[in-house]
């Protein structure tokens, strides 16, 4: 069962993502910010990381950069969930090493679509 790390500082967003993903048969671990996520990612190997961008302590881009330095996360899909879908953000996401982006607010079904595309 694919294991997904859902990172968002907003509890409602986390719950919604978790609910959507677990309903589709994924296993989900939640993290409250980038730092928390990074720590969790070292104790478990996730198949996909779904992260918010704007968070305290460590933001989504920072998390992505740190994860990409980690041998085990070099090629894992990292999706950025963000309300900032500007070109600038996308550029930053790409440079940081993110796999793709998904604009908030999103439709749960679309989230599953996107995840389906990157998870083997």
């Amino acid at each position: 069962m694919p294991l997904i790390l859902a990172v968002d500082d907003s509890p409602s967003m986390r719950k919604m993502v978790t609910f959507t993903l677990t309903g589709a048969g994924y296993q989900v671990v939640e993290a409250v910010d980038g730092q928390d996520a990074f720590e969790k990612a070292q104790t478990q190997l996730f198949d996909l990381i779904l992260t918010d961008q704007n968070m305290p302590r460590l933001d989504g881009l920072g998390l992505t950069r740190k994860l990409r330095e980690h041998p085990q996360y070099k090629t894992k899909p990292i999706l950025m969930l963000t309300t900032e879908s500007s070109d600038l953000m996308k550029q930053a996401g790409r440079t940081a090493g993110a796999t793709g982006w998904l604009v908030k607010p999103f439709d749960p079904a679309r989230l599953l679509d996107v995840i389906q595309k990157v998870i083997k």
Partner: protein
């Protein structure tokens, strides 16, 4: 993909309302936090961290509101976010007007949320005027004062929920493009691209053009979106490198220059309503584009949330339960702790080699019971910050209304207090803080005239002291006037004398007759509802003390008991009695030789411990413990410390350390000197918990 849809029940049936409750709570917290940070922010020296924090609050609320379909909230918070974004990027300098508008917006957002939470009843508060003012501020203009009528306001911008991209300015200006796609495995592979243009409002128009190569498709597109956005948009259906965009522009034909394979967005390029997601080519983990089947991007931009139908019993993330249920739980856990203690006590004599399993089990039980107890207790305990956080805003409003300058300082916000007490202490504290601002702090010019700083300070602090919590409201204002209070008391027919101590005089302001506004304002301002304050606090088993120095300020201390305390105790035996000492006050214990104790005047005894003499208290005498076994004598000293002094308690034996559930003796029996409470021991006996502070005080006399 189709499976995914089935598994999720399809987006249409996805019920977001189950997350409403948790969103409402979270949004409330974010708005509170934002308010707090706005109030704490120093306009001159606001740093990035503060501004980012405030921004993040608005950002979170906006994200949630948009997701859950509360478009009015999303719109307002979106405006707040835009303004805050400019502040954190230092494009604008924060000013008082911005803070005011943001505070006001936070208030309106709360009301809007409350209305959604209540099931959309009643007229929604109008936010149009605020939206206008914020956006004017964000554009760097100084907005006119609040519009008299919201009618004057421009039509609100499209709700964010419906158009997630609305946050980036869409530069209008349609371009004519020729887009070539190929080589393609199947020509119909890119049909969904056409659907994109049909489904995404504002993306533009697309028509088929004849292609001169068999495995290529060519389209003519009229759009205001940037090439990069289009490429992102098409990414699911056809790889970027298989798309060629030529700008037909005004003069079609001279297109070769504008051929764009580029990933780099042209600066300032207009943005399209994107499908809401995309992958970066070649990024780790990105799906192989060639394999990507015709993803139906339809529904891509439809608002994520359907209109909030009604809040039909949302699955709440928190539950409200009657306090008495929690109390019952606490009591039961208390009993469990006692039973556990009893088992532990009885098992001490068992041979560990024989009863190893039983003893391991008991050790687990011990740990689990503690954890359980802690969790249960924590249900009722909440930090004082919950109460304190409401004051900065109140004081700010009040001070500006009165034309005063007041700094508000809080201390010990993390001090936890029983929820029931927190709720009941809020009103009296509000009263005290208001009084301090209203009547204690002088006008700025008066303060300067008296050689004080222009800005007054009100300090609110909370701390645990012994078994109580002490909450203090201090100000550096004018203080109480003894003379005026005595005069007013006489006028009111209250019996007073000039010889009364200050403390007694201050207590007069708690007299019911003292508290009519004009009298009090005339006297020194104190006393508006002070009798009510005192009554409320007394009802909680607390006391109020006043200290004041005329011209320098005053301090009101509210002392409340912690009725629910669980305490780590050390049990000691004296005769057949068992007493509990708070472990936190125990310093050390040792066996004492009779000659180490010396008697000084009036029969008091001192013991010398490492070159230091300290008073000895024989618990046997204090509590007149009957003794039947005259052979046995007290020869154990337990040194306890309280209020900065140490005393040595003389006991028969040390029985051990354990957690005890503190039962209030006053409510069950009456106040007993030197005793702060009682508990039930493992064997069912009642043991008194000693009040070490009282014992220390006793030794001083």
């Amino acid at each position: 993909m189709a499976e995914a849809h089935q598994e999720s029940g399809g987006s249409g049936d996805f019920d977001l309302s189950q997350f409403y409750q948790i969103f409402f709570e979270e949004a409330g917290e974010n708005l509170d936090l934002m308010e707090q940070m706005l109030l704490n922010m120093d306009l001159e020296t606001a740093d990035d961290e503060e501004l980012n924090g405030i921004f993040r609050c608005a950002h979170s609320v906006k994200g949630g509101a948009a997701t859950f379909g509360f478009s009015d909230v999303a719109e307002l918070t979106h405006q707040m976010e835009s303004l805050l974004d400019k502040l954190r990027r230092h494009e604008l300098q924060p000013n008082a007007m911005m803070v005011d508008v943001l505070l006001e917006s936070a208030d309106i957002s709360r009301s809007l949320l409350a209305r959604h939470q209540a099931g959309e009843t009643g007229e929604p508060p109008s936010s149009a005027d605020l939206v206008r003012r914020i956006s004017e501020l964000a554009s760097g203009a100084t907005p006119a004062a609040p519009a008299p009528a919201p009618v004057a306001a421009p039509a609100p911008v499209a709700p964010v929920a419906a158009a997630p991209k609305a946050e980036t300015p869409v530069v209008k200006g349609e371009r004519q493009l020729e887009i070539q796609m190929g080589p393609l495995e199947r020509l119909d592979q890119v049909d969904p691209v056409k659907e994109l243009f049909r489904d995404i409002a504002g993306l533009g128009e697309i028509v088929d053009l004849p292609s001169d190569r068999p495995n290529f498709r060519v389209f003519k597109v009229g759009t205001s979106s940037s090439n990069d956005d289009l490429l992102d948009l098409f990414a699911f259906h056809v790889a970027r490198e298989h798309v060629l965009i030529r700008d037909l522009g005004e003069e079609a034909g001279a297109a070769s220059e504008s051929v764009s394979w580029s990933d780099d967005p042209p600066p300032g390029a207009p943005l399209a309503p994107a499908p809401g997601f995309g992958f970066f080519d070649g990024a780790p983990g990105a799906p192989a584009i060639a394999k990507a089947e015709a993803a139906e991007a339809k529904g891509a931009v439809k608002p994520a949330a359907k209109a909030p139908a009604q809040l039909a019993q949302p699955e709440a993330a928190t539950i409200r339960v009657a306090i008495n249920k929690v109390d019952q739980l606490i009591n039961l856990v208390g009993e469990l702790v006692i039973t556990q203690a009893m088992l532990a006590q009885n098992s001490r004599t068992l041979d560990p080699t024989v009863y190893q399993q039983l003893l391991t089990g008991l050790a687990d039980l011990d740990r689990n019971t503690r954890d359980l107890q802690e969790s249960v207790m924590s249900i009722r305990m909440i930090p004082m910050s919950i109460v304190f956080s409401r004051f900065p805003r109140m004081l700010r409003d009040l001070a500006s209304k009165l034309g005063k300058k007041v700094d508000f300082v809080t201390q010990g916000e993390a001090t936890e207090l029983d929820k029931g007490l927190v709720e009941k202490i809020t009103d009296p504290l509000t009263h005290l803080v208001r009084n301090s601002c209203d009547h204690g702090i002088e006008m700025p010019e008066d303060r300067v005239a008296k050689g004080k700083s222009e800005t007054g300070t009100i300090t609110l602090s909370a701390a645990h002291q012994g078994g109580s919590i002490v909450i203090e409201v201090r100000d550096d204002g004018r203080g109480l006037s003894r003379e005026k209070i005595l005069r007013k008391a006489r006028e009111r027919g209250i019996e007073v004398s000039d010889q009364m101590s200050d403390a007694d005089v201050w207590q007069l302001i708690f007299a019911p007759g003292f508290s009519t506004a004009e009298v009090v304002t005339d006297v020194s301002g104190r006393g508006v509802g002070m009798d009510v304050v005192k009554r409320n606090i007394a009802a909680l088993g607390g006391t109020v003390e006043i200290e004041s120095a005329e011209g320098y300020g005053m301090r009101v201390s509210v002392r409340l008991p912690l009725t629910l305390a669980i305490m780590d105790g050390m049990s000691v035996g004296v005769g057949d009695e068992v007493y509990i000492l708070p472990l936190s006050s125990v310093v050390e214990s040792f066996q004492v030789k009779p000659d180490a104790v010396s008697t000084v005047g009036q029969g008091s005894q001192l013991v010398k411990v490492r070159e230091e003499y300290m008073p000895v208290i024989e618990l046997e005498k204090v509590f007149q413990v009957p003794r039947f076994d005259f052979e046995k004598a007290c020869d154990i000293m337990v040194v306890v410390e309280a209020e900065g002094s140490r005393v040595a308690l003389l006991v028969d034996e040390l029985l051990g350390q354990q957690q005890v559930v503190v039962k209030n003796l006053e409510t069950n029996y009456r106040k007993v000197p030197n005793v702060s409470g009682a508990t039930i021991l493992g064997d069912g006996k009642v043991a008194l918990i000693l009040d070490t502070s009282a014992l220390v005080r006793r030794s001083r006399h």
